[in-house]
């Protein structure tokens, strides 16, 4: 099981929670597990089977784009952070 941090702008899609547990041996499998349970979240994260360009996904503090992308392996107990840009400043 991996923990997935849900950013505030995506929480409406998952009933308002800040963190979800998800199963999967790779980042893709973890996100697909979430997408299966929260189709609206899945639609926002994945476009044509690839990660949407406006959401960064971090595993162990590293952007998975700099690792093996969606094929990056995920081990039990790891935390994945989903992070779209936020523009607020005022």
């Amino acid at each position: 099981m991996a923990a997935v941090r849900i950013p505030p702008t995506l929480r409406a899609e998952v009933g308002g929670v800040r963190e979800l547990e998800a199963r999967g041996a790779t980042v893709r499998a973890v996100i697909e597990d979430l997408a299966g349970r929260y189709p609206q979240l899945g639609a926002l994260l994945l476009a044509g089977g690839e990660l949407a360009t406006y959401v960064n996904v971090y595993l162990g503090g590293e952007d998975v784009k700099t690792l093996d992308g969606l094929d990056t392996p995920v081990y039990d107990g790891e935390t994945i952070i989903l992070l779209p840009a936020m523009a607020g400043g005022a």
Binding site: P8, T9, T53, Y54, P84, A87, G88
Partner: protein, 390 residues
């Protein structure tokens, strides 16, 4: 019992001394030793060896270990004619400094040889008092305080993030603060925008901020830009020359515009953003680390990017994030410490957690990458497909 002359002669036998010629040679070398001026403050103010640090003889023993923790570091001590610094060199030897030498004939001989000297600009007595807590910190000190007074920081936005950032930068003595904001003070701002106040309702934010900041510190000059930052005015605003930009904008088009302009002008940006209970802070330093486009190549669709006006924000959150931005800006000016270049801090006020993720340069970044494809300002509103709300 030995008299002063005998004691001095004895001490001079026990220490190593170098001539002004040798000292100048070492001073010009790439691995220059640390020069320590042990004279009185008024002597230092009349001129000193460039790059030297000033530790009056009377404070040497108590301060040296804080200033020079490495006891193997090569040191050259000097005073006016080499006597006070002879005793100082002896004492440093007793304290375990293995490579301390005395400039035998002192600063007078250095000057006689026509070598370069630096005349320090001095703080007024009011400034010494105002910045006394900075002057006590070795990483700031008088030289750092002068840097702050000479520094020019441009704040994009005088709102949630710009309020605490500008207040702390002004209090710290950053000499020139440019502020870009087209808005007027609204009642709904006052829950977090602490540079404004109830008696400023309806007043332009740049004017309100200027009054607060110049009242806080008369050393600070505020340059107001009562306009929204756009592709049309950004060159004019940046032309005044800024050392650091503090980005506290509240919309994506301005964020991408600030990014592109900062890269083309080579100005570091201290980035902060907030929403509800969560904030992000990082530093984008052109040429040294990633840029905003490396981190977020494209903005989210408008439905996933609500502003604080739409989604709300905890009042204290910009206080925390804006203060972190001020901290980064001060370090960039002082060239001290490790900045957030290449690191994005994620603060969650609800759980009181701070996470850090790595941000890497994208070699394919269209603006800061190896073969840029965007080389001039674009239509940022269209790029972000979002209405601009400042």
């Amino acid at each position: 019992m030995a008299g002063y002359r005998e004691l001095l002669a004895q001490v001079k036998l026990e220490i190593e001394e170098i001539s002004a010629v040798d000292a100048q040679e070492q001073h010009a070398a790439a691995d220059r030793p640390l020069f320590i001026d042990v004279r009185e403050p008024e002597e230092w103010e009349e001129g000193h060896i460039p790059g030297a640090i000033h530790v009056p003889r009377g404070r040497l023993e108590s301060r040296i270990e804080g200033l020079v923790p490495d006891k193997e570091r090569p040191l050259v001590l000097y005073c006016s004619v080499g006597s006070r610094s002879a005793f100082a060199t002896k004492v440093l030897g007793d304290l375990g400094y293995e490579n301390a030498v005395n400039l035998g004939a002192g600063f007078s001989d250095w000057k006689r040889n026509g070598y370069e000297i630096a005349i320090p600009r001095v703080l007024s007595s009011e400034q010494r008092s105002r910045y006394s807590r900075h002057l006590l910190i070795p990483e700031v000190g008088e030289e750092g305080q002068q840097r702050l007074l000479d520094a020019r920081v441009l704040l994009v936005g005088a709102g949630g993030l710009g309020s605490p950032a500008s207040l702390y930068l002004a209090a710290a003595g950053v000499g020139t603060l440019g502020i870009v904001d087209a808005d007027v003070v609204d009642e709904s701002n006052l829950q977090r925008q602490i540079v404004h106040s109830t008696d400023r309702l309806g007043e332009p934010k740049v004017a309100s901020a200027r009054r607060t900041l110049e009242a806080l510190n008369p050393d600070v000059k505020v340059v107001p830009f009562e306009e929204r930052l756009t592709s049309e005015n950004v060159e004019r605003i940046l032309d005044s020359g800024w050392d650091v930009i503090v980005d506290g904008a509240d919309n994506f088009p301005t964020r991408y515009l600030v990014n592109d302009a900062s890269i083309w002008h080579g100005i570091p940006v201290v980035h902060g953003s907030i929403y509800r209970f969560e904030g992000q802070v990082t530093v984008f330093a052109p040429g040294q680390g990633p840029c905003y486009r490396c981190l977020f190549p494209t903005p989210p669709p408008p439905e996933l990017a609500p502003s604080c006006a739409e989604g709300g924000v905890l009042g204290v959150l910009p206080g925390i994030i804006g203060s972190l931005q001020a901290n980064e800006a001060l370090k960039l000016i002082l060239e001290r410490g490790d900045t957030l270049v290449g690191r994005l801090l994620l603060f969650d006020a609800l759980g009181t957690t701070l996470d850090e993720v790595t941000v890497r340069r994208d070699p394919y970044c269209p603006v800061s990458g190896e073969s840029p494809t965007i080389t001039e300002y674009v239509d940022y509103v269209e790029f972000c497909n979002a209405p601009v709300q400042i």
